[in-house]
């Protein structure tokens, strides 16, 4: 159990700056998800917390104590690697017991701990197997087991589910979240999957190019994205963007007026989520539909709106609209997001 504080953490590999300064205070027991596209520096950030990469500048506090120069073994953390990193020459039981043995715990206690963790993760019958005799999901569980037997103060996960199939991923996602809630251990969880981020996080860091674009609860990020990047990265399908202008208190996209707004005049980027539009013959938005994807519960209509690509997600089954394929849509004004096109920041 510990808090983790990141204070303006930066990382460079030689001349290449990879992390440009991340600030965050993580409360005890919180589940933090670091999410972002490939190469944005998620793993690097996590590995700095683990002590596997040096911190170029800034301060890392674990449990309130400065940990920049603490060796990984002295940080009281456990990590689940993307490739699981199980010791191939040891049985499942030995893999889980390794850390405890090194810590000098008596044999019978180790055995009890391993049994307990194995039961929790439904690994009891696999304890004598070697990692190569396990399926991907089972290996993932062993890696989890190895992390939890040590009862660390911080859990670190680096894309632990990315090697599993979709169904198993959903199942393991719930199990991990459940387990973490049960154990109440502060966790940092890296993923590039925004669904994992939304469902698991207490709070998430949306990263892009080494910068934390937004830090907040999933709903926070969904409802009030602070940057265009965060707006587009979270939510599926991603948010529609339109080039707009505010003229005399009126928000306009080309000649279509989207209603009054009371912010600064000039060019804006208008964001509207696909699920926030609805069919309405009196609507001001005219979507020219090119394709429809019926998903069962809802239908995705892809097309163009005022010359730009636009996707609408409508509940239920929708056929392609009639001859001219045009369709009128409406929206609630509170669902509009306005961004500064130059800085990408929310207005």
């Amino acid at each position: 159990m510990a808090t983790v504080d990141l204070k303006d953490i930066k990382k460079s590999f030689g001349k290449v700056d990879v992390i440009h300064g991340v600030d965050m205070e993580i409360a005890d027991g919180e589940f933090i998800v670091i999410v972002g596209p490939s190469g944005c520096g998620k793993s690097t950030l996590l590995r700095m917390v683990a002590g596997l990469e040096t911190i170029t500048s800034g301060e890392l506090l674990i449990g309130g104590k400065r940990a920049n120069d603490t060796e990984p073994m002295d940080r009281d953390i456990a990590m689940v690697f993307q490739n699981y990193a199980l010791y191939p020459h040891m049985t499942v039981a030995d893999n889980m017991a390794y850390g405890l043995k090194i810590a000098g715990m008596p044999k019978d206690q180790i055995k009890a701990k391993v049994q307990e963790a194995a039961k929790l993760l439904q690994l009891d019958h696999l304890l004598d197997r070697k990692p190569r005799e396990l399926s991907g999901g089972q290996r993932q569980r062993v890696a989890m087991g190895r992390a939890i037997v040590r009862e660390p103060s911080v859990f670190l996960f680096d894309e632990p589910l990315s090697n599993l199939d979709a169904k198993l991923r959903v199942q393991m996602r719930l199990e991990i979240k459940d387990l973490q809630a049960k154990l109440g251990i502060t966790s940092l969880y890296v993923t590039h999957d925004q669904v994992e981020a939304m469902t698991m996080a207490d709070r998430m860091i949306v990263m892009n190019g080494g910068v934390a674009e937004q830090i907040g609860t999933p709903l926070d990020v969904y409802e009030r994205p602070q940057t265009i990047f965060a707006a587009q990265f979270i939510g599926s399908p991603s948010m529609n963007l339109m080039d707009g202008r505010i003229d005399g208190g009126q928000l306009k996209v080309n000649d279509v007026s989207l209603g009054p707004v009371d912010t600064r005049e000039g060019d804006v980027t208008v964001g509207l989520r696909p699920e926030h539009v609805f069919a309405d013959s009196a609507g001001v938005l005219r979507l020219n539909v090119h394709q429809s994807e019926p998903l069962g519960a809802n239908t995705l209509l892809h097309g163009t709106l005022e010359g730009k690509a636009f996707t609408a997600s409508l509940p239920g089954v929708h056929r392609m609209p009639g001859n001219d394929r045009d369709m009128s849509l409406n929206f609630a004004s509170e669902n509009l997001h306005l961004f500064d096109p130059k800085t990408g920041k929310r207005i």
């Binding site: 073994m73 490739n83 990193a85 010791y87 090194i102 070697k130």
Partner: protein, 293 residues
């Protein structure tokens, strides 16, 4: 995926195998057969005729205290050479593996000794340790140590072991280095997070994962110490002093070509053949069991 080539006729495959088969026949099977044949005879002192003695040569050898002590010498020698060639190599490989920059340069430099032929290496070491003019012997003298491997058994053994092992360190280093690089970094990191410090990681993770390499090198180095160190011993000590460095292979040579006792020499070759066969079987049977993971 396994790739198989199938030949239509038999001419081409035979032609392809023929050179290797011929070389094996002429240089291996034929001499081996001759050795077995000759081990059953005692030639007369002038080499004009020979008398069939059955297993007499073997009987005599096994009772011969010199031959028995040569066995012990060989065991000591090959154990020392193997250890002296493998442990420093492993150490160097571990150090080079930790380097991020410049590992390639070290690797290249560390390979050089391997390019030196055993006999040349022998001469090199001989010069350095020559009791009268050798550099090292002189420095040892300055330190108050009177080095003379021509008279001292232990020093002679030490010198041939060092000279034999020296060039092999390069070879072993290469394999250990490649083996270390093949261990996934995340395993080491996982162990570090699990609380294992460097040496703990080394003995519980690195060494076990390196065991296939270690086993392979063990076999190769023992075979080397048995058979390929002839040049070193011949140049440095010629088996002396008082047979203190006469390993089995050297005895085959000195009894056969110096002592002109071809029957005994042949019998020794046959015994050596059997010993190597046994060694290999033992190594594969017992050591390999612990290697797999």
């Amino acid at each position: 995926m396994e790739k198989r080539v199938t030949f239509k006729g038999w001419l081409l495959p035979v032609a392809l195998i023929a050179p290797q088969a011929l070389i094996s026949l002429i240089f291996f099977f034929y001499p081996a057969a001759q050795a077995v044949w000759q081990s059953l005879f005692i030639p007369d002192p002038f080499g004009l005729s020979s008398q069939f003695v059955g297993l007499g040569n073997f009987e005599f050898l096994l009772k011969d205290p010199y031959y028995r002590s040569s066995f012990v010498t060989t065991a000591i020698f090959s154990t020392l050479v193997t250890l002296a060639a493998m442990i420093p190599a492993l150490f160097l490989a571990v150090v080079a593996d930790r380097l991020i920059k410049g590992a390639g340069a070290y690797r290249t430099m560390l390979i050089w000794p391997y390019a030196v032929a055993p006999a040349v290496a022998g001469v090199l070491w001989l010069f350095m340790f020559n009791p009268r003019v050798g550099v090292v012997a002189w420095y040892l003298g300055q330190l108050g140590y009177d080095w003379n491997h021509v008279l001292n058994d232990g020093e002679a053994m030490g010198l041939v072991v060092a000279a034999s092992a020296w060039g092999r360190i390069s070879y072993n280093f290469l394999f250990f280095f490649a083996g270390l690089q093949a261990i996934p970094k995340s395993l080491i990191e996982a162990a570090a997070i699990d609380g294992a410090r460097f040496w703990k990681r080394f003995f519980t993770i690195v060494l076990p994962l390196l065991s296939p390499t270690t086993f392979f090198l063990l076999v190769v180095n023992v075979v080397y110490a048995f058979f390929e160190t002839f040049g070193v011993i011949h140049t440095i000590t010629s088996g002396g002093p008082q047979q203190a460095t006469t390993i089995l292979v050297y005895k085959v040579f000195s009894d056969g070509f110096v002592g002109q006792d071809l029957g005994s020499s042949s019998a020794q070759s046959v015994i050596l053949l059997v010993v190597v066969g046994l060694l290999t079987i033992i190594q594969f049977k017992f050591v390999e069991k612990k290697v797999h993971y």
